[in-house]
Subunit: 292 residues, 2 copies
């Protein structure tokens, strides 16, 4: 089997797979690249995970995920910053172990408004402070921190960074190799500014990763799980993908789906279905020549 050379499977799409299972099924599906998550890596230990990942022959597209640093100063914030430092180090180790062309990109979800607070503006200020604190570590490790704007329906409990423009403003004080942004169609498709902000992200050299999945209503009871295969919903992948291409992004493209039905399906079926969906909904809008 072979899959599109720029397609990467984000491991969350097969959430219940172990690291070994994920690597095996992804490689067997003809993919060249994978986006790894921390929990399955930590389950086997970083050193062992890096060895197994190297053996897989796959590239790393991203490492998911850190962040969650909107709490005020105190032990919980220190624990979060320390954990993010470990995540940066893990990213560097895994990117080094991956096949040539691996991206040393650590995806960051900001975190929500702290429990009991209504201080959204304060929570956002603490994201900026956390980036300033982590940027030297990322620079030293050769890791790009990829701030991910999440859909505004997660603004209260998951990410106070809600638009691409806001993510780019947060990234602005830093070198683009140190702080970039994650473009995930599910989170940004609705934004009236999305095309101009994608162009801006490209011009500023900050597109660290491009992730695709679809939006469909009604949303499920758990709104985290309302993500679908590209082409199964309302997102205009032609327009968004062309914009990301025009902005100069030439790296791997992850399919990342949180969806209970997808999680309940056999891993190999999901891997195959993902490649098909990518081929029909996304690939036609990519430049013919692939630059890794």
């Amino acid at each position: 089997m072979s899959a599109h050379p720029r397609l990467s499977l984000n491991q969350a799409t097969i959430r219940h797979a172990s690291l070994d299972e994920a690597l095996e099924v992804t490689a067997a599906g003809g993919y060249e690249s994978i986006g790894l998550w921390r929990e399955p890596v930590q389950a086997v230990g970083l050193g062992e995970a890096a060895r197994r990942f190297a053996d897989s022959g796959l590239r790393l597209s991203t490492y998911c995920r850190g962040g969650f640093f909107t709490m005020p100063e105190g032990p919980a914030r220190r624990a979060s910053i320390d954990d993010n430092r470990r995540g940066i180090a893990e990213t560097a180790t895994l990117a080094a172990a991956g096949a040539p062309g691996s991206a040393s990109v650590y995806v960051l979800v900001a975190g929500g408004i702290p429990e009991g607070s209504t201080d959204l503006i304060g929570a956002r200020a603490r994201v900026a402070e956390a980036l300033a604190e982590l940027a030297p570590d990322a620079r030293a490790a050769g890791v790009t921190l990829a701030i991910e704007p999440l859909h505004p329906m997660y603004a209260s409990d998951r990410a106070v960074v809600s638009t691409l423009g806001q993510a780019l403003d947060l990234a602005a004080p830093f070198d683009p190799s140190v702080v970039g942004v994650t473009l995930d169609t599910f989170h940004i498709w609705w934004d009236p500014e999305v095309l101009s902000q994608i162009a801006r992200a490209g011009a500023e050299g900050r597109i660290a990763t491009y992730q695709v999945c679809d939006w469909r209503t009604p949303l499920p009871a758990d709104v985290l799980l309302g993500r679908h295969y590209p082409g199964d919903g309302v997102i205009d992948f032609a327009t968004l993908t062309a914009a990301v291409e025009a902005a100069g992004y030439a790296g791997d493209i992850e399919v990342e789906i949180f969806n209970q039905e997808v999680w309940d399906a056999p891993f190999a079926d999901v891997v195959a279905r993902t490649a098909e969906a990518f081929e029909s909904a996304v690939a036609p809008h990519l430049a013919a020549s692939v630059i890794i």
Copy 2:
């Protein structure tokens, strides 16, 4: 009983009340103002509704709601435009029947992406076209069309207008007395641009109504019903209300809550609880002197 002089009950907060019940319980609760919905008005007929409304002694704060005009040209679109023309006429009749200070404001929800389409940009263009078509009717009737940006989680199926900035851009070609915007905290609180866009809305004279309710997670299974009493969630009413005040809005402020538990409670209890919530979460941030 008396309630804050700028407080208005949006009728959707007591969704299952008839027009008579709504008018009675709102007046009995000491409110001076109400935001009416079309269905209960149409249930008794416009003329009779206007007489009963005049007898209530209440002001009209808004008439809800029209819009839903994102479909391509054809019979369905013609029916929508015609229905909106009737809604404009109804607004004028009810505002004239209301107590002095009534607002002749017709709230517009844009509508979603047409079934089977992924053409978000086209759907938005049809909102602009519909406004152009309806603006002469609104002007002639002395009605302000109040475009309501809805939370982006409704962008696919309910409103392709997702931000206040976008709503103001859509309103820009028209006189502010003809096309304005609806500010609803539930829909706009998360927006990184919200404060600057509220200021802009004020400077452009386009704040047609200010509606308040709170956001709380987790969302209910039907995400339309995730609205709460002000103060029961994460929205910073102090900052938003101060911004709306500073922008020069001095009209009635509606509490509009879609929530199954609220709908299941006795109307009088909801009216009283709404007044209390408004008094504690919103009123302290209003200027002391009331200008109607």
